[in-house]
Amino acid sequence: MALNPADTAWLLVATALVLVMTPALGFFYGGMVRTKNALNTLMMSFSALGFVGLAWALVGYSIAFGRASQWCGGSEYMLLHGVTLDAQGTIPHVLFFAYQGTFAVITAALISGAIVERMRFGPYIAFITLWSLFVYAPVAHWVWGNGGFLAKLGALDFAGGTVVHINAAAAALVCAIVVGSRKDYARQAMLPQNVPFTLLGAGLLWLGWFGFNAGSALGANRSAALAFANTMLAPMATLVVWTMLDLMRTKKATAIGAATGIVVGLVAITPAAGFVSPMSAIILGAIAAFPSYFALLYRARTRLDDSLDVVAAHGVGGVVGALLTGVFASKVWSGGAGSGVIDGNVRQLGIQAIAVLVTIVYSSIATLIIVKIVGALSALRATPRDEGLGLDFSQHGEEAYSRGEGAILLLDRRSE
């Protein structure tokens, strides 16, 4: 196929939009932790841009989009060999590579929400880098790669509900269990340090998600327009239902609830974005609010310290979205690319469930192996003392809100 300038222009913009989602996630998460861990939480997202991004360029892209088998890509694109200006579809191959790279980065960063405020920074970086190579890249190959087996099976995942959100949430659950809960968890109240950050992050995530979903059409076409409209509508519906649930439960519409509702709606519409009608997107977004809302409430009463509720938001929201894609996918709206239960294709729901299950099982087992290996080489957790002092100082030697009182300038450390 020949290069198409309109498609190329849209994917250039979409790539930049998805890249910004990772810093946005940092702010979304960073607002919800305590002051003493704000920088560490932001760094868990920002560092993924470097470490996971490079691992993707050097190795991961080839595993995901190389051709070797239906299980795993080959080595043909390693070290960016063969990633040229030639057309991949209707856009330059190098642009396709860059676009996919932004997905790898945010998927790995999503996991951090489960282990904030106690995991040491070095082992965290090692973990997400390895995870992006051994979990994200193969799963991306299965669904989107050349001849991946879930693609052959007919699983529908427009922009990554399974590959990104369910995958990251399964890993988050394993990490939360292996790393263990924060020492103050369920003993004292741990309040968010900056709720406006969380709202800012949710707003920027929504902006970036237009690139994530509408960009996944890989062109400036009808499918992109549909995904764009659905990315707007579904979170609107989730936000409304979430607010109603808040009002019914506590008589107050909470701001953190609004931010969470938006993200849950975005997660849920991700696999369906280019397959369902705008009216279906509204219904899908509205339905998706319920399971995640009650999963959040339930989780807080358990011993599972999935601190920022990656499982309830991305896991539960992702599963609901993946299954509802199998319900609402419409031949007319998707241009024949998918059809679900409303078209009389009940079988699609089963295929969606298989893709979800396979991803959860593989991601959980592979994550467990990686986190155990990293844990065998180096302690995963900060010491209780460092956890008490906060990870900003103990891991980074900085504070988020430093007033400078009592700070003495060291002019030349060598002369000490």
Partner: protein, 120 residues
């Protein structure tokens, strides 16, 4: 009556409050303060600027108690606030000349005795 003044680590505040509550010591004032008590130095770096933080965040508690409550109060704070590292803080016990409860005008021992407990 005595005034117990304790300076502790902020991350130990909840443990201390819990211990005081268990020892049935009610009525206290806290303040966030900064201080220095010989802690090992804390170095932070911001781009090219390296600074030594000579003042650390601390929490100061003030508790007015009748004499026979001094030991339980001090013990509760001491056990709950201790990590064993330099910087755990200090406890001062000061004599008090006069105490008034503003609401009732009660003085001294009656004023530092929690509501619902007969003075004695």
């Amino acid at each position: 009556m005595k005034l117990v003044v304790a300076v502790i680590r902020p991350e130990k505040l909840n443990d201390v409050l819990e211990a005081l509550f268990l020892a049935e010591i009610k009525g206290l004032t806290i303040a966030r303060v900064q201080g220095h008590g010989g802690e090992t130095e804390r170095v932070e770096t911001y781009r090219g600027t390296t600074v030594k933080m000579e003042l650390s965040e601390k929490v100061r508690l003030e508790i007015g108690v009748s004499d026979h409550f001094v030991d339980p109060t001090v013990n509760a704070i001491m056990n709950a606030a201790r990590t064993g590292d330099v910087g755990d803080g200090k406890i001062f016990v000061l004599p008090v000349e006069q105490v008034y409860r503003i609401r009732t005008g009660e003085t001294d021992r009656a004023a530092v005795t929690p509501i619902g407990v007969p003075p004695g």
